[in-house]
Point group: C2
Amino acid sequence: MRRDVFQAIADPTRRAILSLLAMGAMTPTALAEHFDSSRQAISKHIQILTECQLVKQEQTGREIYYHFNSKKLKEVDKWLQPFRATWDTRFDQLDALLKNNKNKKS
Amino acid sequence: MRRDVFQAIADPTRRAILSLLAMGAMTPTALAEHFDSSRQAISKHIQILTECQLVKQEQTGREIYYHFNSKKLKEVDKWLQPFRATWDTRFDQLDALLKNNKNKKS
DNA sequence: TATTTGCGCAACCGTTCAATTGCACATATA
DNA sequence: TATATGTGCAATTGAACGGTTGCGCAAATA
């Protein structure tokens, strides 16, 4: 069973879940209300997201709030990095500018 | 048959193919030499990459050179954008800096 | 205490995926 | 012309995927 971030975000429902959770933690039942599929189906997606640490849980009583964990998304960003230069100069600008403004850094 | 960029880059072999092609156009046979799987397997991956326009072909005689097309990868970057702020302030810095340096923009 | 609610887990089902093998066809090359 | 080479396409196979239904269990509620 392959379980990496790229495979996790391949599914549109899982991407939607991440977007929702990024706005605030939610329970599986609350999440499921945003979709047509069953709670169990959403729960399975959450499980996959948890396995690759895109999401972490916080239990309060019988309810489980799932939180978005952005760290792992950095992996995608990291992979994208070398390609970025080929479609935009925005980031070359960034590097140049940061170099000239190091002192302003917090 | 789902065929979008996210599904395309979910496979590690396809990501490797993209990285190789980003360095220079190649034929399927040449590409296959970098992997353990058969030429046909690689060819299938190329087909998927072509279908979502991550790759374009250029035929010369009986050989087909496949080129990397970065445009579609922007979709991934675009989706990543809102999340970026949550893991790094680098891009907030960028926005602030660009605002103060608009005149320097080429 | 009895009932409702939120949840994960397991079994099952049809579809998609990744890979292999075998083939046909066009282009090089001897 | 005969042969070798580069390629796409079709059929097949086993594994993984995404979904449903049914269940058990613990926590809240009546």
